[in-house]
Amino acid sequence: MKNALLYILLSALLLCSCDMFSYHPYDCKIDGPVHLTDKNIGRIESQTYGDTLRFAVISDTQRWYDDLNDCVKAINKEKGISFVINCGDLSDFGATDEFIWQRDIMQRLKYPFICLIGNHDMLGTGEETYRHIFGNLNFSFTAGKNLFVCLNTNALEEEHMDDVPDFGFMQSTIYNCPDSIERTFIAVHAQPGSEQFNNDAQYRFHDLIQKFPGIQCCLSGHGHKMEDKALFGDSIRYIMCPNIHKREYLLFTVTKEGFSYEVSRF
């Protein structure tokens, strides 16, 4: 019986060493890399010059860890990519482990990556976890002569829908935009017209994004399907990226003449 006791003790010790103690799915104890938005923007801005650019877009990666992992391997095989944008919904329940697992897979990318906040990411303590691991909900960065504006459009998740999207942030980004910028891409999780979007303000949103220099298109996710539409009947396209379970990502190429993209399967 002494052996049995020893066995139990050893197994308990082994389990302890595995760091398996967990307080709660919504416990915001976060180990490992944090503030990733700023860190990755630093990498992108220091490594990207001029007009031409290639970047990949993925979206709605929640609870599809195997698919995301395969996607990261596929994107790593692509050459000359400047960065990867994940259009949000990294978690399904807003639970902390979900963000950590997603972060750890995205960290395997050899390219910098940017993660937007999705509506699922705002559940429970999700928003707090997102802010700590990634950073602000609205942010912008430059890649050579291209400006990328990433916006939280999950108005349904907010107590006051009118606060989203943050028009003040958009206006100040337009105002402070460097003269060198020739093209702008907008990235959001939910596009105008979706149930998450503050649709009373969708025309105001569409009008305002046209004030950015050389507006190209608005990237989004949320719909779990591929869609490329001029939602307001003009030249500005709203391009929706499919969810990762469709095993597709979008690969954009930007040149002086404009942008093009292809759907890559993995």
């Binding site: 389990l15 709660h24 195997d66 329940f93």
Partner: protein, 205 residues
């Protein structure tokens, strides 16, 4: 395990000790006497908070079944506020082995527990602003299953006036969130991602 967690456990244990004196009349029969819980539980981690404490009602042969109510504390960490949790746990311990004269080993303990967060932005039924069945789950309540083991140390007769025995246990638990996440992703996720460890102590009066 971090030092501050031990500090919490010690504090809660000390606070609960005076309860022991209240149980001196445990042999008295009667309805009220029968519903007084005979066990005080203190637990570290295990998906119900950093540290939790409460009472257990055990019944059946050798206390084979147990229902416990635990109140837990979830530290703030990187969230906006610290949170309180309440857990209702149902345990089944099919058999026990007498290891020594005063040590019982229960090689299998299993059961289910439901945990709710008391404060913060959580819901049981989705707020009206969402279309019907938009998310389809409750953020406030987690359902969990667990499996574990337990040792009971029976105290010598001279101490028996208050505490009959002390138990230590550990349990591996997993929540509905973790089960939903693990099964479509068994290539990337590991079994250690699915289970979470909790350890605890019981004082049986």
């Amino acid at each position: 395990m971090k030092y501050h967690a031990f500090k919490h456990i010690l504090l809660v244990t000390l606070l609960l000790l005076p309860l022991a004196g209240k149980c001196e009349d445990r042999d008295r029969k009667g309805f009220w006497s029968s519903i007084i819980p005979r066990t005080v539980v203190v637990q570290y981690a295990g998906n119900i908070g950093a540290v939790s404490a409460g009472a257990e009602w055990s019944y059946g042969k050798n206390g084979r079944w147990g229902t416990s109510l635990l109140f837990g504390y979830l530290p703030k960490h990187h969230s906006d506020c610290a949170k309180g949790t309440v857990t209702l746990k149902q345990r089944f311990t099919p058999f026990n082995i007498r290891v020594k004269e005063n040590i019982d080993f229960r090689p299998l303990e299993c059961g289910i527990f439901f945990n709710t967060i008391m404060n913060g932005e959580f819901w049981i039924t989705e707020p009206d602003k969402y279309p019907k069945g938009y998310y389809g789950f409750a953020t406030r309540v987690r359902s969990n299953i667990f499996i574990g083991q337990r040792f009971d140390f029976l105290l010598p007769a001279k101490y028996k006036c208050n505490i009959k025995s002390l138990s230590v246990y550990y349990e591996l638990s997993t929540s509905d969130f973790h089960i939903c996440s693990y099964f479509p992703n068994y290539k990337y996720l590991d079994l250690s991602d699915l289970f979470c460890l909790g350890v605890g102590m019981k004082m049986n009066f």
